[in-house]
Symmetry: C2
Subunit: 285 residues, 2 copies
Amino acid sequence: MLMQRLAEGIDRTGNPSVIGLDTKTGYLPQGVTEVAEFNRGIMDALCGAVAAVKIQIAMYEERGLRGMADFFDAAEYAKEKGFIVIADVKRGDIGDTAASYSKAYLSKDCIDFVTLNPYLGYDSLQPFFEDCGRYDKGAFVLVKTSNKGCADIQNLMTEGRPLYEAVAQKVTAWGKGYMDGEYSRIGGVAGATYPGELRRIRSIMKECFLLIPGYGAQGGTAGDIAAALDGNERGILINSSRKVLLAYRKSGRDYRDAARDEVLRMREEISDAFANSRKDRQDLI
Amino acid sequence: MLMQRLAEGIDRTGNPSVIGLDTKTGYLPQGVTEVAEFNRGIMDALCGAVAAVKIQIAMYEERGLRGMADFFDAAEYAKEKGFIVIADVKRGDIGDTAASYSKAYLSKDCIDFVTLNPYLGYDSLQPFFEDCGRYDKGAFVLVKTSNKGCADIQNLMTEGRPLYEAVAQKVTAWGKGYMDGEYSRIGGVAGATYPGELRRIRSIMKECFLLIPGYGAQGGTAGDIAAALDGNERGILINSSRKVLLAYRKSGRDYRDAARDEVLRMREEISDAFANSRKDRQDLI
């Protein structure tokens, strides 16, 4: 079901990337006047080159009702084109309220995954988790984010280890009730900008997919990310947004061609880095 | 400015309550077909009896674009009627994304406060905080929520104290840069369901307003909440939602009259509890 579709999509495209449609109006190239048109163009160009897209809802909420219509347009078009769709909403609230948030996204055919914030604890995530089982959906819970300030809270030492490790353990335990084949429907978010931590998180979250932001524009490298591969050299989704959406500014080509070229370049970079990492591990044996 | 307006509104109404417009379609009484009509009726009835309303966005997001239109209708009508408006959005994301969320809510005339999630650290909150200074707005950061599961993360022991105390200290420190008269624009959310913790949080967050959910339907009492009053017997906002919105089901009266009666009853209950707490403290001296 979902987790198998995700793994197969990554195998088919040879690409563990997910493209972040964090489209601001300022990103549109000359001649494109609508966010929805730009998003559709990007998705047309990336079809077959990448299995999943992630839509950051903040950029759409910023533009009110019009923006929200564009958010759902992107999700629906993505689904039509066969992409797996992650709604990057980072919601978190108590029981009843969480159920409303879950209904807002996970009950929709066009959305496969949501991202969630763990600060309010299990009962705030449970309505989403239950909907994951009910509707064949999944969730990525924030464990270690890619920003500098993440250390303020996530690195506080708690019972001899940083908080993010405790969160990783809890999310793993909570996710055991929501297995879908060899992976749990409940994965984690762990930034590429902290490779040591990423390795620790993988060692804890063995049966979880990791959604990895921070590659490219934020400074994380493909080599850094290789640390997050699971025993089957799988189990990760690497997000890239601006470098793909804005590739046209560097190359001067049509935004769709530029985005596709950038995604294919990333795929090669990632594939090389993973091959090197495999070689390093084999040399050690 | 904002914090003074809030304090004055509470003094004028004699009521530190904030009414949560967490309106689900299932809450509408016979004869009322639209959420916007219901919300406007509630606000008409509560004018002068309470200074602030809190709009829980999840219940509106659940209904898609139509729901979001109702969310902004409620905020705009509230502003027109002179209420202080809290957008309960509990957002939290990294830099650029946080800036988009902040623009979505704090740049709007009809919204005075947002609620925020601290898990991603200071740089994820900073864009909101800066907009608070820029637009004369405020924010309440989650410290200790009212749900049972909050202990999963918020009570983890970190450097000899539970995480929520560390968060309370950080939010207090971060808020010092955003003072508006005697209060910081940056307050905390602390549930009425944990009175001991509420007292600890007040002792840490001396110059902060506390937004207190969990009163009424969730089991927190007015006596429990008295522990959160600051040195001037102020500095709190007590949220009540369902008990007010659904008061008509108990009384059989028009939903507006029933809501107003319930708010006036709450005001008396809170006022009595605070008087008793004052007396207890004086007896101790």
